[in-house]
């Protein structure tokens, strides 16, 4: 019996060694397990206990790219606050759990952060799907819940008063600057038909379903609308169906992986639209380019923030980011998470305390200085501003609308992908 056990152990060890041996280039910074909280900044030489800020992020699973970007934003904010002497003279310490993109895990994580870790402040996870259930937990315990990425209509229509969406506008308005641009095209250039191919997710549906009626009212015909489950990996048959209808404009309701999957399948199917818009994906500067190379040319998306923006505090944020994480382009999600930190920080300073009821009251009435510009919220935490339209030009994404933020003229129709 003992020798059997020994053999089993040896075999497992051998297999695990084989697996690790095959990955010389893999980074050793494994995503933290759900059980192990990650303490970001150990308090040094500070008499008072640190202020604990809790978050549950999708560091693995479907939202792992944007989730990891958000973590960078949060940790950079804590680092900058701590270097500048802390918040109310106390150091800021993050407790971050990985919810593996699972809403149930996110809910359990926030329960744990509040009841067991007894954090002072909370910040939100990535994307509406996780924000919707976890904001209910924060509300139950009376915590203010500023969050970086949950802006679907259903985030706000529950009437919660403790939630604050820290982007310039609610997500469903993201595509509107692009729609305005399309409808401003002269009759000869304007597309006649469009197709909507969207992931079944509250965020992506919110974006595309706000665009649809505006395009139809503008005289375009909807040739096709398809929803697919978030776990879908095979877009070939869907692309064949789109190619069969051959619409002038393609609107993709995407998160990231699926934007790449859709575009590759369209190229394989020989579908060449005159214009293309994808909700998220093209807005991730590094990953999108790596995945698609020159096929990115002319693709539109929406963005809440861009690196070259000169809004107050943004140049400092950009410089600190590169000092901490290197030269890679900054993801919008990192900036949005940083914005959450800024809102929280200013609310704490305004109220001179950590009383969440007072923080909520302050967040409703104050205007905050953030990297996405001055930010204020309505009674359900909906931000009062507008998104920008971006387009990929020559291997880079540039802002093409609205006029006040424009870096380049939009190109229409797009080149073949």
């Amino acid at each position: 019996m003992k020798s059997k056990l020994l053999h089993l152990m040896i075999s497992i060890v051998v297999i695990s060694m084989l697996i690790t041996a095959c990955a010389p280039a893999a980074t050793p910074t494994a995503a933290p397990a759900t059980q192990a909280p990650v303490a970001t900044e150990a308090p040094t030489a500070v008499a008072e206990a640190p202020i604990k800020v809790g978050a549950s992020l999708p560091l693995t699973g479907d939202f792992s790219d944007p989730g990891s970007a958000a973590k960078k934003g949060y940790e950079l904010w804590a680092d900058m606050v701590n270097k500048a002497g802390g918040l109310l003279g106390r150091q800021v310490q993050f407790v971050i759990y990985d919810n593996a993109s699972n809403p149930d895990t996110a809910v359990a994580d926030y329960e744990k952060l509040i009841t067991q870790d007894k954090v002072d402040l909370l910040v939100g996870p990535f994307s509406s799907k996780l924000v919707i259930p976890s904001s209910e937990v924060a509300n139950k315990y009376g915590y203010a819940f500023p969050e970086p990425a949950g802006g679907a209509p259903h985030v706000f229509d529950r009437g919660l008063t403790n939630l604050f969406f820290c982007q310039p506008a609610s997500s469903d308005t993201q595509g509107i600057p692009f729609v305005n641009y399309v409808l401003s095209l002269p009759d000869t250039a304007r597309p006649k038909t469009f197709a909507v191919i969207t992931q079944d997710d509250p965020f992506t549906l919110g974006v595309v379903e706000a665009m649809e009626p505006l395009l139809i009212a503008g005289g375009l015909t909807e040739a096709l609308k398809e929803k697919y489950p978030p776990e879908n990996k095979d877009f070939s048959s869907l692309a064949a169906k789109v190619a069969d209808k051959n619409p002038d404009l393609i609107i993709g309701g995407t998160q990231f992986e699926d934007s790449v999957g859709q575009i590759k399948a369209y190229i394989q199917a020989g579908y060449q639209p005159r214009g293309a818009f994808f909700s998220t994906g093209p807005s991730l500067p590094k990953e999108f380019n790596e995945a698609l190379g020159t096929s990115t040319e002319g693709i539109f998306s929406a963005i809440s923030w861009f690196e070259a923006s000169t809004t107050e505090t943004n140049p400092e944020f950009v410089a600190a980011y590169h000092a901490m994480y290197g030269d890679e382009p900054i993801a919008e999600d990192s900036a949005n998470a940083f914005t959450v930190g800024q809102v929280l920080q200013q609310a704490v300073e305004n109220t001179q305390g950590l009383d969440n009821a007072k923080l909520i009251e302050d967040m409703h009435k104050s205007t905050f200085t953030t990297v996405v510009g001055p930010l204020s919220f309505d009674e359900v935490g909906r931000p009062q501003g507008s998104f920008m339209a971006l387009q990929w030009q020559g291997g880079k994404s540039v802002i093409v609308a609205p006029d006040y933020a424009k870096q380049a003229e939009p190109i229409w129709p797009k080149a073949n992908w």
Binding site: K4, H7, L8, I10, S11, I12, V14, I15, S16, L18, I19, T20, C22, A23, P24, A25, A26, T27, A30, A31, T60, G61, S64, D65, A100, P153, H154, F156, D157, G159, D200, E209, K225, E226, K227, Y228, P229, E231, N232, K233, D234, S236, S237, L238, A240, K241, A243, D244, E257, V260, G261, K264, I267, Q268, A269, G270, A291, S295, V380
Partner: protein, 313 residues
């Protein structure tokens, strides 16, 4: 808030099951895509059905082997720019040895393997998924050779190069497998073991060696399948669950232990999956596998090409 409510009230009407008849061109295009993907499915399922045939073991870790193969292919591509199809020549022998070790030192040591092997291989799958997660993180990856978005056009039908190459490579591997089984002494020993283990043993077949060899062979096909998977689909360690579910459905439909059965079942399911996506909705595509699984289990439990399972005492 009024608007939000309206939107959600209207949705059920939009999402209800609606069928649309595709044009003949789209239909044929979809059939082609289905057959191509079916070929790759066949390769992925071949090792699983072979192992079951010889050892009456369901190797639940087969999906994890596929994903491990995909990751090794990914690393070879990232580090040495090795083409995913060429890398099969490297991954398949490694996996053969790995499979041999797993069978010889884990599976052959458990008592009552026909009943407990599912648990042991399931544990192996979980261990492998965990280790892959720690090693490679859980971001989605895919291998993108220069031809990853290319397609060949034949009479206005588009054949994606990756799928065509995958189909071709799958066909070659299956033919090699078939040759080994039908034309070599080893193959005869394997088939004899499939038919009757005890009789084979009495006739001088080294059943222990045949078992380890078959498991190695099964793992090698998983390596090849994983290499092809890596350039057609995106994957992460958790994808192993999807793939074990798909390959199991295929071998049940084909008849557990039957290689030709797995081939036919894989082509049928590949085509049905793609057709469902265009005629009904993509939502139903993954369900097709399980619908077929249920129908098979109810109507023809032995599968398309399987023999009625006997209790050999």
């Amino acid at each position: 808030m009024q608007a939000g409510d309206d939107m959600r009230c209207r949705q059920p009407a939009k999402t209800r099951l609606s069928m649309s008849l595709p044009s003949a061109h789209l239909l044929i295009q979809t059939l082609i895509l289905g057959l191509l993907v079916g070929g790759v499915y066949a390769l992925m399922a071949s090792g699983l059905t072979l192992i079951f045939g010889v050892m009456k073991i369901i190797n639940v870790a087969h999906g994890a082997f596929l994903i491990l193969g995909a990751y090794i292919t990914y690393e070879l591509f990232q580090t040495f720019h090795l083409d995913p199809i060429i890398s099969i020549l490297i991954t398949a022998p490694i996996f053969f040895l790995l499979g041999w070790v797993v069978q010889r030192y884990i599976l052959s040591r458990i008592e009552n393997p026909e009943q407990t092997s599912v648990l042991v291989t399931f544990a192996l799958a979980l261990v492998m998924e965990g280790l892959l997660g720690v090693t490679f993180q859980t971001n989605m990856r895919s291998v993108t050779p220069s031809y990853s978005t290319a397609a060949i056009t034949i009479a206005s039908y588009r054949l994606p190069v990756t799928r065509l190459a995958g189909f071709g490579a799958a066909l070659i591997v299956i033919l090699i497998l078939y040759y080994v089984l039908e034309r070599t002494n080893l193959g005869r020993a394997i088939r004899a073991t499939i038919q009757d283990k005890r009789a084979a043993q009495l006739m001088g077949v080294n059943v222990a060696m045949v078992s380890a060899f078959t498991f190695g062979l099964g793992a090698a096909t998983a390596a090849a399948g994983g290499s092809l998977l890596s350039m057609i689909y995106s994957f992460n360690p958790a994808s192993q669950g999807d793939w074990i579910a798909k390959t199991l459905s295929i071998i049940v439909l084909g008849g557990m232990g039957s290689l030709p059965g797995a081939l036919i079942a894989a082509l049928i399911l590949g085509v049905m999956e793609q057709l469902t996506a265009i005629v009904i909705t993509l939502y139903w595509s993954p369900i097709v596998f399980y619908i077929f699984l249920f129908i098979t289990l109810i109507v023809r439990p032995q599968g398309l090409m399987g023999e009625t399972v006997r209790e050999n005492g």
